[in-house]
């Protein structure tokens, strides 16, 4: 535990000094808050119930895209950066275990992803009051809250897992970015389903997505852990 905290501190200190990471982690949330507000302001006047629901749902969906996208920037630079600096070998020469190293890297992106997602969601709810008189209670239902608070950790874990696998194989940040970007598929696919169904989110839907995500997260993290063995890192990673 001590080592994980030490590693987290180092990861965050490095990320804060990396403009690319800061941009990736802060620009998109700000943009999403703005876009979501715009959606509900637009939705106010619409009195066809289906269309309004679709707009409101899309707005809320943005907050499920964030936990999948924010870890990308952080994890890509945290792993490709170590490779470029050849800094993994000295790190691996310390008593840190492979799992500690893995968890340090994974949590370094999952924790900020969740904090930023929830903070932007709070900001959105707060700003929606002056802009649109708040999000109507029949939109912001239990399934939505379950999605925003229950699905986000799973989404960011899946995303981190995918990014870690891709980054361990990629030799530069740009390639890693490109290949990891399909980590945003898990929140995008339901987005399409919801917005075409023109209906409000249900507990069943959130439950099914949660189940799928648990399987996905466990699978990608299991693969990622295997790639994060000292021997692998030192002899196979390029």
């Amino acid at each position: 535990m001590h080592n994980i905290l030490v590693l987290l501190r180092k990861e965050w200190r490095e990320s804060l000094r990396n403009k690319m990471v800061l941009f990736g982690a802060l620009f998109l949330p700000a943009f999403m808050v703005g876009a979501a507000l715009f959606m509900i302001v637009q939705g106010q006047g619409v009195d066809i119930p289906g269309a309004q629901a679709a707009l409101f749902n899309t707005a809320l969906m943005y907050f499920l895209v964030l936990p999948a996208v924010i870890p990308l920037a952080i994890a890509v630079y945290s792993i490709v950066g170590e490779k470029e600096q050849q800094s993994l070998e000295p790190l691996l020469a310390t008593p840190v275990t492979d799992l500690e190293l893995f968890l340090g890297k994974a949590l370094a992106s999952v924790i900020p992803a969740l904090v930023i997602t929830w903070a932007s969601f709070g900001l959105f709810l707060g700003l929606s009051i002056p802009f649109a008189g708040g999000v109507p209670p029949h939109v912001l239902t239990i399934p939505w809250l379950a999605a925003i608070f229950g699905l986000t950790p799973l989404l960011s874990l899946t995303s981190v897992g995918i990014t870690m696998i891709v980054s361990s194989r990629a030799s530069d940040a740009r390639a890693a970015y490109q290949f990891s970007s399909f980590a945003i598929l898990p929140p995008i696919v339901p987005l399409i389903i919801y917005s075409t169904r023109k209906a409000l989110v249900s507990v069943a839907l959130v439950g099914v997505e949660g189940g799928v995500l648990i399987v996905a997260a466990v699978a990608v993290l299991a693969i990622a852990v295997r790639l994060f063995r000292r021997e692998q890192i030192l002899t196979r990673w390029k």
Binding site: R13, E14, R17, Q85, L91, A93, P95, R230, L234
Partner: protein, 303 residues
């Protein structure tokens, strides 16, 4: 302190290290020399419990490779081939990270001590990306030492250092030796190995030669006396009929004489030369560099 038996590492078809048997005593500075691709870095990685051997094994003190890897990593310090520092962190933060991972009791003061030791205290808050190559190398060395390891693996410690900094590193190695630390030194700087190492091993996937530098040179070249003359005397070698002379050769205007016991034989030799009418200007011992020895032994090994 370091003991390996049949240590072997293969990468696919390449055998990087082939059955290395090694004994390095506590408090010894052991030079590990060999050409590029000889397997030095691979050996260090195995001994520091970073990668696993394909065959064979090793002990660091009483700790067994494979079984006690974590304890081994706690006990050893490694200066890796590439400095591998975090460029976006300050010099101090780089060291603090490693002091904390090694659970050093008072990280801040320990880090300060090493930053001062390497003249980096004034630059402590500068990002590593802004330091010069030599400063980074010193910082990497400080990082390898920050937890006070018993055994230190140094993979080319003075590469890229200016003469003064190299000297500082040599002094540091000397002082660590006097504290009974064991040092495993890989280097291409043969002069440094000659001055610093108690024993050296010439290595190229397998052992080529092993011993004290002076002994190795003597074993290879014998002991030789060089005599410089005022003007090169004619036919001198033939007139030199002393029974203890092993061989003679001319190097420019100097005569190089192979002897087995020069302390006893030199006075007799010089007296005889003077009797023969030679004008002796200087007499000294032939100094063979470790470089000459290395090049000759490697050539012999490859043939």
């Amino acid at each position: 302190m370091i003991r390996s038996e049949g240590l072997t590492r293969r990468f696919g078809a390449v055998t990087a290290v082939d059955g290395l048997d090694l004994v390095v005593e506590r408090g010894e500075v052991f030079g590990f020399l060999g050409p590029n691709g000889a397997g030095k870095t691979t050996t260090v990685r195995m001994l520091a419990a970073l990668i696993a051997p394909t065959a064979g094994g090793a002990h660091i003190g009483e700790l067994q490779l494979g079984r006690d890897n974590r304890a081994i990593r706690r006990r050893v310090g490694v200066l890796t081939e590439a400095p591998g520092l975090y460029r976006r962190l300050s010099a101090r933060d780089n060291l603090l990270l490693f002091a904390r991972l090694h659970a050093v009791s008072d990280p801040s003061s320990r880090v300060e001590r090493y930053l001062r030791l390497f003249d980096l205290w004034d630059r402590r808050d500068d990002l590593v990306g802004t330091l010069s190559k030599g400063m980074r190398q010193k910082l990497a060395l400080a990082r390898a030492l920050v937890h006070d390891p018993d055994v230190l693996f140094l993979d080319e410690p003075t590469a890229g250092l200016d003469p003064e900094a190299s000297r500082r590193v040599r002094e540091l190695v000397e002082s660590l030796r006097s504290k009974e630390r064991t040092i495993f030194l890989c280097t291409h700087n043969l002069d440094e190995a000659d001055r610093l190492c108690d024993r050296v091993e010439l290595f190229k996937a397998r052992i080529v030669a092993l011993g004290k530098p002076a002994e190795l040179k003597e074993r290879m070249y014998g002991r030789r006396t060089v005599i410089h003359f005022g003007d090169r005397p004619q036919g001198l070698e033939r007139a030199l009929d002393l029974p203890f002379i092993l061989d003679t050769e001319w190097a420019d205007d100097a005569l190089v004489v192979g002897l087995s016991d020069p302390e006893r034989e030199n006075p007799i030799l010089v007296r005889r030369l003077v009797e023969l009418g030679a004008e002796v200007r200087y007499v000294n011992e032939l100094r063979v560099s470790l470089e000459d020895l290395y090049l000759d032994l490697m050539e012999e090994h490859d043939a």
